[in-house]
Amino acid sequence: MDGVGRSLVRYWRSALPLVIVLWSVSGAASGATTPDTVTPEPPSPPSNVAAEDRSNDAGGSVVISWTKSADDGGGKESVVEYLVLRSTSLAGEFQQIGSVRSGVAQFVDQNSIDGTPYFYMVRASDGVSLSLPEVSEAASSSAQWFHTGRTNILVAGALLSFLVLLFIRKAKRGEELYIRPIAGLEAVDEAVGRATEMGKPIMYVPGIMDMDDIQTIASMIILGRVARKAAEYETALLVPTSRSLVMSAAQETVKEAYLDAGRPDAFDADRIRYLTDDQFGYAAGVDGLMLREVPGAIFYMGAFYAESLILAETGHSTGAIQIAGTAMPSQLPFFVTACDYTLIGEELFAASAYLSKEPLLLGSLKGQDWGKAISIAILVGGVILVSFGMSKIVEWLTTR
């Protein structure tokens, strides 16, 4: 080897250790270390890894839970996430199916095949290295035929239905059923009569929700009865609606009512009109109609929101007699303040039975009342039990 060559070899011999140190340090700094290589100490593993079928679902889900690593939230606080892996056999290859942040001790595998047993592995990671693996017992998912968390609702629903059907049966057999007088409903005739005397139209406002709201359906039922009265007295009936479907339903209802009353010629479809879906646009439209048409009687029946007082105050300023009915607890105070009569909550649903006096409908009302009596008994009984430390009833009444 010549002199230059010997210098070069001497250079590399002395530089080599430095190169090796620099190379390993740069490797660590760039995060190029792969799991299981020589690194600072890995985090403690999670423990008690358990897997079980997710209950009360349509299958395909397994819930994996574990006790957090000692280094998660305590100790070195180095855990940043948990990796969840899955395999169909203990000896097989585990594939990662997901991860959760530190502090979380549960993961749901939503892609399992029903009936196939899976083994789940959970490893804590500090971003650089992984803990030792912890594996669960085999678990497989399945679909359930009954949601056990809703047993209480099934029992309550069945009991209420039984009571309603029982009293309907009693009514069918001709049994006399008493219901208390409801001032708002007794005043319906009076209101229609007053409007007729003054030669003014009746206005019926069916709320601002669509036909999928039970209050709107109840409103259509009452509209049928009011329309029948209006047809008999030959009083004009105005029905401004906030939804297209409600307008169609209202037109059909009023048309049939006029037919029933023997006055099909008096029916005018244009008096049942769609205004707008927009809440305050509708309020403005109805207010305008009230001030121009000056009705003698105004009915507000259905679901209302903030526009309730705007409508009721404007109606009051026209001097009309006002009867309201809604199952919106937040709007009841406004109607009570501004209207002459108010149907509170369930009285709206009782209206159809009350106005028609049909035995079947009265029977269902009775069943509903008995349902309420049972609710009150459970409330009182429950309060007493819980006061004495027996809170099992609370657990049983909770829905999952």
Binding site: Q144, I168, G224, L245, T337, I344, F349, Q368, G371
Partner: protein
Amino acid sequence: MKKQIPLLITFVAGMVMLVQYFIPHRPFSEVYRLFNQWYLVVAVFAMILGIGNLIKIHSVRLRRRGSGWQYSIVLLCSLGVMGVAGLGWGIERGGFFDYLYWNMYYPLSSTMFALLAFFVASASYRAFRARTAEATLLLASAILVMLGRVPLGNYLWDRLPLLGDWIMSYPNMAGQRAIMIGIALGVVSTSLRIILGIERTYLAGR
């Protein structure tokens, strides 16, 4: 037959939705998802129906020069402009639709809602009278809660907000819950009548 088919549809749909709540197993979970999707589609079509109806009514009024026909022009133009602006240029911030939204729709909507402030005052002045013992109690609670819910109450007496909160959290909530329970029972009873076809007035006629 005209009445039977809708009643049958109501019964089947009602029973299916009732049953699927308790049975997570397929096909009931799929049925629920399917009904959900159908409802989303129907809701969109209902919107189209409503807009079509609105255009029809106001076009007819305009043609016949019915009462308030000038306002029908305003309505139809507004509908057209907003629709074209949104469909043509998008609804993103800074666009024409967005400009109309913030500078026309928003002030109009807020103004109508603001009417409530005035109407609450006039309704309270007219209707809140201490006619009976219960009315007096109601009056006193209303005043306490109204003061408790604004900083003025805290300024007058630092316990007033707590008193107002107590009235809201206990007596008020008890009353609200009682009404809600009654309503829930009424809803179950009415729904049962409709599903079983006992209540048919909503379908028109007896």
